[in-house]
Symmetry: C2
Subunit: 270 residues, 2 copies
């Protein structure tokens, strides 16, 4: 459930599915290792997509019961297949919309949302819908990136322009990719309490080749390259500047380059 | 020893000294808690300034012997007074220049440098000088900020402009305040090995009032405000945009604001 109307900024291609899996593998420890739900509790995963995070959730909380929903039947089928291959059984999948949830109020102990709010026109409304399904004292866990947290060495005006294109294209589609820094006001604003936000910064240099490949190249640059047509087509950037910018992004993956990006993880209570 | 020619971007005022102490107090745990030198070893603190970090070093490594140098006798006197008040004795102070160190080669076990390289025209040369004083197998610890790592909510063009003024003024004085992200290539480039860089991100929201006051207001915004005259005087920004930018920076310290900045800490071996 990346976007209500199926216009998902990153598309639904096979490369995109590989990107999501690369992203999930490299970042699993950083983003998910501290999410463990107790035995017997019920967790709603809102927007499971192709199941990139679902398998990690099921593995880390083998005795919790998950309901994973998404807007796309194709994504749900991919998620189901992934979970089946991994051998987990503590989840049921359901085609459903965050803004029209087919569950009774106060029916879940916990809600988990990852990389969803950034794609929504009304993220605060989505949180209100999700909050209504939480029991009193229940928690919501939200993980989002923030594309404006990106910087690198060597610095480059054109490379920064390509990142700005990603931000602008996502904004044109109604999303907000600067959402990570806004989790605290978003969650407090809709009435969650004890909101605690922790940044999860990814710092990459050539001493960490698995992050150079798995994050900088196969997650971040792949994501930027995914909006090439829209960025050039809508006149946000010239083809020459784009080409130069992408080359400069790849330069940050060399022996003397560094790359920084920050995810934000929030936990809040009803 | 903030700058060779005593043209220190942040000035030498009393407010600046208070800013440095606020900064050191709020960030001590984040930046310094993992720096502990063993009994009997010798440590060169290059550029101790008014001793903001010196007291923490002495406290965390009470049985190591420190030599703390600086280019400014006035700063050294302030550092001495601070150490005396705190009751530490394991340090000797010396007026000295990083580029003309009055010590035999290979005479120190460790070197510690904090918030210095960003002010130097030739940071790599400074590292070469410091490296020559390290025994074989010795370590250097470098801590620097990166003003380009700054972002906040609510976002504001004018606020970003004021931060860019700080970066530009520092660059005009020969420094480079985007140095944090460059520690890995700088250290590997002059022959240090096993270089390990860890980012230390400061994330501030209204649930952390001590960071709102101690970091966002009294450290970061105070630092930006310190270059007001230079920024407006040299035409980098209009007075109106400056005023608006500073107001917008203060807005990030409100109940719905957030603020992000990242320091980088590197440890490397000869």
């Amino acid at each position: 459930m990346k976007k209500r109307n199926h216009e998902y900024v990153h598309g639904y291609s096979t490369r995109e599915e590989e990107r999501l899996v690369d992203q999930a593998t490299t970042l699993t420890e950083l983003l998910h290792s501290d999410t463990k739900y107790p035995a017997g509790c019920s967790v709603l995963e809102a927007g499971c997509g192709v199941g990139a995070q679902t398998v990690t959730l099921l593995k880390n909380s083998p005795e919790a019961h998950f309901t994973s929903i998404d807007l796309s039947q194709e994504s749900l089928d991919a998620a189901k297949a992934k979970v089946q291959t991994a051998g987990y059984k503590n989840v049921s999948f359901q085609l459903a919309d965050i803004f029209d949830l087919p569950f009774p109020d106060e029916s879940y102990d916990h809600v988990f949302v990852c990389f969803i709010l950034e794609h929504l026109k009304r993220p605060a409304d989505a949180l209100i819908h999700l909050k209504s399904k939480l029991k009193k004292g229940g928690t919501i866990t939200v993980i989002e990136g923030d594309h404006g947290s990106t910087y690198f060495h060597p610095d480059s005006r054109e490379a920064r322009q390509t990142v700005q294109c990603l931000i602008d294209v996502q904004a044109k589609m109604g999303g907000d990719s600067l959402i990570g820094r806004q989790l605290f006001p978003l969650l407090t604003g809709v009435g969650f309490v004890n909101v605690s936000v922790s940044p999860r910064m990814v710092y990459v240099d050539s001493s960490k080749p698995e992050f150079v490949e798995g994050f900088t190249k196969n997650t971040f640059i792949a994501m930027v390259e995914g909006v090439r047509e829209q960025a050039i087509g809508s006149g946000l950037i010239t083809e020459e500047a784009w080409q130069r910018g992408i080359e400069d992004l790849y330069r940050t993956t060399g022996p003397h380059g560094t790359f920084c990006y920050t995810f934000f993880k929030a936990i809040a209570y009803t």
